[in-house]
């Protein structure tokens, strides 16, 4: 992508208020994830049983949970579990997938066949079920959830990368690079990867939303983060038992999930309009 196009992309984002709002929310969420202490009003772990299930008010902005912990502060501290882990899932999944796709597309032949059949098998599994089975096999917990989601997410990128690589290897500049004896890995890294970047960025941004939802879903099912971690999905799940008396307990963490996911979706949608005009 040339500097000119990059500048145009930036201008298009800033001229679109919806995309701008999305970016603002993502920046804020990142801040919450990195320095939660700046925003939290209470300690997210300290129990305060006399004040359990208090409604939202001046002392507790979004009320308290069944242990008297401040829901707002727990949401603030929970941002790292949702956003940073989602970034990790998407980053690692994309890295793995790109590597597989590059090799499959560039080398061709039987490695291509084997790698692509492997992606087919993973894609044939219904994602939620596969995640449940893998987490059950390697044990519950946030780390295992992240590993599972990486294992599930790579095939999508592998497919995109392979398709792009197959097109790229036919281009004259790649043939020319080959002819003058540039090593294969350098051709892949310097010539093929940069040209597939825009399609991958769009995919990755949209998948950040998916990753946040999947992490929350596994947390909700009790397979991901474990109590007392203030993970948003887990908070909705524990709040579910009290929702008739304390609606704020499950509702606000769920809203946090939705708002951040929405922000990533809006950004991804806008980026697609800009970077990938054929595929709108």
């Amino acid at each position: 992508m040339s500097t000119n196009r990059r500048f145009a992309a930036l201008r298009k984002i800033t001229s679109n208020w919806l995309a701008l709002a999305g970016c603002g929310i993502i920046l804020l969420a990142l801040l919450l994830a990195l320095v939660p202490g700046l925003f939290a009003t209470h300690d997210p772990y300290v129990l305060d049983l006399p004040n359990r299930l208090q409604p939202p008010g001046s002392e507790h902005l979004l009320g308290t949970d069944d242990f008297g912990r401040d829901v707002y502060s727990r949401i603030v501290y929970g941002a790292q579990y949702s956003i940073l882990t989602a970034l990790l899932v998407v980053g690692a999944g994309m890295g793995l997938g790109c590597l597989v796709g590059l090799i499959a597309g560039y080398v061709g032949g039987w490695p291509d066949e084997i790698l692509m059949r492997a992606t087919d098998v993973v894609l044939a599994f219904p994602a939620v079920l596969l995640a449940m089975v893998v987490v059950a096999a390697i044990g519950r917990g946030l780390t295992n959830t992240v590993i599972t989601l990486i294992l599930i997410s790579w095939p999508e990128y592998a497919r995109v990368m392979r398709a792009q690589t197959l097109v790229a290897v036919q281009q004259e500049y790649v043939l020319a690079a080959r002819a003058i004896g540039v090593p294969a890995w350098q051709i892949m890294w310097r010539h093929i990867v940069p040209n597939t970047l825009s399609a991958l960025i769009v995919q990755a941004t949209l998948n950040l939303g998916v990753a946040i939802l999947s992490l929350a879903a596994l947390g909700f099912l009790g397979l991901g983060a474990q109590s007392p971690q203030p993970e948003w999905g887990l908070m909705v799940s524990s709040g579910r038992n009290y929702f008739l008396d304390a609606w704020w307990y499950p509702v606000f963490p769920g809203l946090a999930i939705a708002i951040v996911t929405l922000a990533f979706n809006i950004l991804g949608d806008t980026l697609r309009d800009i970077l990938d005009p054929l595929n709108t």
Binding site: V128, A136, L213, N265
Partner: protein, 337 residues
């Protein structure tokens, strides 16, 4: 390649995929921590009893041999015995699957009937208020977690407004009058003209189905809009307008028909998604389907059930994909395999 050759080839591929999926699930389920023999024999069983159970379950044999035995059983239609309730897994699946199908089909109906017209309207009134509204609605629809939507729906429509029940397929008292034919309560009650049961079943299914339908509906809307816009740009639309056809006829008879062809693909994918993605919705609404069965199985380390459910959902997933591909070829005569 003719269509029949294509179907045969795809069926072979399906068999291969099934084998791979079975192998993967089987080996994954074997590394699950915990001891199934101990669970089956009971917590107070002696060491000898546990060993006997291990031999009976074939767990003392090496893994590849266990897998060969499992495949043999599978071909005879024996999926093993559930560790949770001691019943054959096949019987459990037969019992729970109709509920999941009914929920998924109903959700699919909602998503299609609302999502596609909304997409068409958004495309026809491009950049109008309906387009913007549908865009925000669709983006939000994909962003809200289904488990959270379910809880909010229960809170609003059951608890505060008291309009709809939340949980189970019908009231327990209604089950007495139910005679299963297909296993789908709504269909069966229509067939037997049991209106009270139909009404009761309908009121129970609305909230879970709506929860399950929100995300696919959002996707249908966005996708239909995109395809419609692409079709509207084509020269034949100009010709149709030039012939003096009214705009609504052009939209309905020409543009929509062509736009629906690619939409079929994502509709098929959505059915597969709903059949497998109902785990969350089923646990929230205590819907006695395969999703809840899978959830219980995972928590009870009930590996025969886990493998069984995974097999079943994967077959559905692969079959819907196959049907979509065939339907696609049928709808669009230009596509030849």
């Amino acid at each position: 390649m003719s269509l029949s050759q294509f179907v045969v080839r795809r069926l072979f591929l399906l068999l291969f995929m099934l084998l791979a999926v079975t192998a993967l699930t089987f080996f994954l389920s074997r590394v699950i921590p915990g001891d199934p023999a101990q669970t089956m024999a009971g917590m107070r069983a002696s060491r000898e009893q546990v060993e006997n159970m291990r031999v009976r379950l074939g767990l003392d044999k090496p893994l590849p041999e266990q897998f060969a035995l499992y495949l043999g059983d599978l071909l005879r239609g024996d999926l093993g015995t559930s560790i949770t309730n001691n019943r054959p897994v096949l019987e459990n699946l037969q019992k729970f699957f109709p509920a999941t199908i009914e929920l998924a089909l109903f959700a699919f109906l909602i998503a299609t009937l609302l999502g596609i017209p909304l997409g068409v309207l958004a495309a026809v009134h491009r950049n109008g208020w309906i387009d913007h509204l549908s865009r925000i609605g669709a983006l939000a629809g994909i962003a809200f977690p289904s488990f959270w939507l379910g809880i909010v729906f229960i809170l609003v429509f059951f608890y505060h407004l008291g309009w709809l029940p939340a949980g189970r397929r019908v009231d327990v008292s209604m089950m007495v009058s139910y005679t299963p034919i297909t296993g789908l309560i709504l269909v069966d009650s229509l067939l037997t003209r049991n209106w009270a049961l139909f009404q009761n079943g309908l009121s129970h299914i609305i909230l879970p189905a709506l929860t399950l339908a929100v995300a696919p509906m959002a996707r249908f809307t966005r996708f239909t809009r995109a395809v419609m816009l692409e079709e509207l740009r084509k020269p034949y639309v100009l010709t149709a307008h030039g012939k003096g056809l009214s705009p609504s006829v052009v939209t309905r008879r020409h543009v929509l028909r062509n736009a629906l062809i690619p939409t079929v693909t994502i509709m098929g994918l959505a059915i597969g998604y709903m059949l497998s993605g109902s785990v969350l919705v089923e646990t929230i609404f205590s819907w006695p389907g395969v999703g809840q069965y899978a959830y219980d199985a995972v928590f009870n380390l009930d590996y025969p059930s886990i493998v069984g459910v995974t097999m079943l959902t994967t077959i559905c997933f692969l079959l819907t994909n196959l049907i979509v591909d065939i339907l696609y070829a049928y709808l669009d005569p230009r596509i030849r395999y």
